[in-house]
């Protein structure tokens, strides 16, 4: 088999794997997390309403805590679009997240806070050009209809998304993206962390802190507590992203994105430009990670180089894996489960919490590889029509 595939285009070999997987779910390579059914608008709406009324139940402090996790849900969603829908794992999304956070912090951070140190540095730097940068950032944060610095929201997302498009174009030229992309993105975390540590005016290893909240100067937040106002800002972003995701999954573009991961060669032969589709999807995923970074830095008020590390990217993968890659609510469920668990337990378990997370990751992956075999065993035991009602994922549309 393999001796032959050295001559065959690798993507072709991959579709052979997919075919074999359909026929014989017991083979080891049959493992494939794939998208489940997109929920009805009613279900999604109910979840949205539940999230919207949460601050009324939790109070201002609780809402402030929950607000910390919403950007992470966006981050998990960005990885899930890539992994769950396209089968490609990234070990570099924490780097894009951090890049977005730094960019947003530079734009928002005006005089009077710690990141002003950066601005002061830029202004006082001996080279005359730096002053222009400082004025540029100040001008950018000045564009604020209703007191919301919209450019801090848009620019990092667009800029880092553009970088993602370029990178995706090269990465998806690689012959077996599902093998090469994770290995290449592994380097991104190291690069981002070491370069940020080496830049003194970005706070070196301390990073930037005291970044004001997105709605800090906005009349929208008038009368809200600080926790609630952060929660509202993050929830609006999350719901907007989720709404777009809902439409995307139902759209033709979503189907093409799905097909470009499942059957790149067949999509190519139908006349679609698979590499462009995959690069575009990667760019969208990267842009979402940057948006998550923006929302996170305006919630915590803090960003540091360590957030770009490979371990952080792996953490995102744990959230997605726990929530089931490809599931619509997967990122939401996985992120909240692990992060709330970590909030409650890491105080008690200290360092052992990492051990628990490692074991969780291993068990989820083992379950993922074995579940198709278990499903096949179940299928032999039960008549197929009854199975559809018994096993929820069997109803999923591909």
């Amino acid at each position: 088999m393999s001796t032959k595939t050295q001559e065959v285009e690798p993507q072709e070999a991959k579709s052979v794997v997919a075919d074999a997987a359909d026929e014989d779910p017991t083979t080891a390579s049959a493992h494939r997390f794939g998208p489940t059914a997109t929920p009805r608008a009613r279900t999604a709406g109910l979840v949205a309403i539940a999230l919207a009324v949460a601050p009324l139940v939790l109070g201002d402090y609780g809402a402030g805590i929950l607000a910390l996790y919403l950007p992470l849900v966006i981050l998990a969603l960005s990885v899930d679009i890539l992994w769950g829908m396209n089968g490609v794992v990234s070990f570099g999304h924490a780097a894009f997240f951090t890049a977005g956070a730094y960019l947003a912090a530079l734009i928002i951070g005006g005089p009077g806070d710690a990141s002003a140190g950066t601005l002061n540095y830029l202004q006082e730097a001996p080279s005359g050009g730096s002053d222009r940068w400082a004025r540029l950032f100040e001008a950018l944060s000045g564009v604020a209809p209703l007191g919301v610095p919209v450019l801090a929201l848009l620019l990092p997302t667009v800029a880092i998304g553009a970088v993602g498009l370029l990178l995706g174009w090269v990465l998806f030229r690689l012959p077996q993206p599902e093998v090469y992309v994770p290995l290449m993105t592994l380097g991104l975390g190291v690069i981002m962390t070491t370069s940020l540590v080496g830049i003194p005016f970005l706070g070196a290893s301390n990073g930037l802190s005291n970044i004001p909240a997105l709605l800090a100067d906005s009349p929208i937040a008038g009368g809200m507590g600080s926790g609630t106002s952060r929660y509202v800002a993050n929830l609006v972003a999350l719901l907007a992203v989720y709404a777009a995701y809902w439409f995307f999954r139902k759209s033709m573009a979503g189907k093409r994105w799905l097909a470009s991961g499942d059957e790149p060669l067949r999509l190519d032969s139908l006349g679609y430009r698979t590499q462009l589709i995959r690069a575009g999807g990667f760019a969208a995923s990267v842009a979402l990670a940057a948006l998550a970074g923006t929302m996170s830095v305006t919630t915590t008020g803090f960003v540091a180089p360590g957030q770009a590390a490979v371990g952080q990217s792996a953490m995102i993968l744990i959230w997605v894996a726990v929530g089931r890659p490809g599931g619509f609510f997967g990122p939401l469920i996985g992120t909240l489960l692990i992060q709330v668990g970590s909030f409650l337990l890491s105080g008690i378990l200290h360092n052992s919490w990492q051990l628990v997370l490692g074991l969780v990751l291993i068990s989820v992956v083992v379950f993922g590889t074995r579940s198709s075999a278990w499903r096949a065993r179940l299928r032999r035991l039960l008549p197929a029509d009854r199975l559809v009602r018994l096993v929820p994922w069997e109803t999923g549309r591909r």
């Binding site: 993968l317 360092n351 051990l355 490692g358």
Partner: protein, 284 residues
């Protein structure tokens, strides 16, 4: 000229550490289709084992102890979970990352987060001409890495077990129809790869900070070698390791460590992306 010589030796030093790491990764991926993200942590286990044994006064045994410890843990990991990830790159990456997290935390809980000190067995340096000198231990490391590569090449090309490894790499189905137990081959290959990681950990321990998270530093660049080199080919792995080491040393002398990481990563990406065909055969 002196600087050039220094860069040359420095590059060979970096390259030999990369080589030791990449050999283990390469053989594990080639035979089993496992992308072992815990490899750096097996290096860490080897480093800790050597530190523990040599601090007990048995520094002669530090290298064998490191190999045995890493290979033993590798064998155990394979028996318990890694067997589920054969020929499944995505699952193997995530699963072995989990194993790495477990190893890191266990070491952290046992030894604490502080750096472990390891004495250089030979601390003298030799003159390499043009007024430059170079640590003897680093020279030994370069020679040992090259010797290991040669030995592994001989092992794969000339021994019966090597033949089995080549057959399973080339075609698992044919191998099993010839009566070769591919699971047994897998198991011992994983132990061999982890043993190699332990070996490099023991050798690198005196040169680097021994801490629970030291493995990450080895991982990214060692994987660049695997991506660049021809799979299962020791000679190509050796060449790319040394080449990458020289590139890192050159750029870091000219523009600093950070720039070196970035430049080498981009070079690797461009080289791989512009290739017509994958050197890693598709796995079925």
């Amino acid at each position: 000229m002196g600087t050039l010589l220094q860069i040359l030796f420095q590059g060979l030093g970096i390259g030999s550490v990369l080589l030791l790491g990449a050999l283990g990764l390469m053989i594990i991926y080639g035979v089993m289709g496992i992308i072992n993200l815990a490899h750096g942590d097996f290096i860490m286990v080897g480093a800790y084992a050597s530190v523990v044994v040599s601090s007990a006064g048995l520094s002669v045994l530090s290298v064998p102890a490191a190999v045995v410890a890493a290979a033993g843990i590798g064998l155990l990991a394979d028996v318990v979970v890694v067997k589920y990830f054969y020929n499944n790159p995505v699952a193997s990456m995530l699963g072995t990352f989990g194993i790495g997290m477990v190893l890191q935390t266990v070491v952290l809980l046992v030894f604490g987060p502080e750096l472990q000190r390891s004495e250089l067995p030979i601390s003298s340096s030799v003159s390499i001409g043009f007024g430059q000198s170079f640590s003897v231990w680093r020279l030994i490391l370069i020679l040992v890495a090259l010797a290991t590569a040669a030995l592994l090449a001989y092992f794969i090309a000339r021994t019966r077990y090597g033949l089995t490894i080549r057959l399973v790499t080339a075609d698992r189905g044919v191998a099993s129809s010839l009566g070769i137990r591919s699971t047994t081959t897998n198991r011992w290959t994983f132990a061999l790869g982890c043993g190699l990681a332990g070996f490099s950990g023991a050798l690198a321990a005196p040169l680097s900070n021994v801490s629970p998270t030291m493995g990450v530093n080895y991982l990214a660049n060692a994987f660049l070698v695997v991506v660049l080199a021809k799979l299962g080919d020791v000679r190509s792995t050796t060449a790319w390791s040394l080449g990458l080491g020289l590139a890192l040393a050159t750029v870091s002398t000219a523009a600093g460590d950070v720039m070196a990481t970035i430049v080498v990563w981009m070079l690797a990406l461009i080289i791989v992306a512009t290739r017509r065909k994958s050197l890693i055969p598709a796995r079925v």
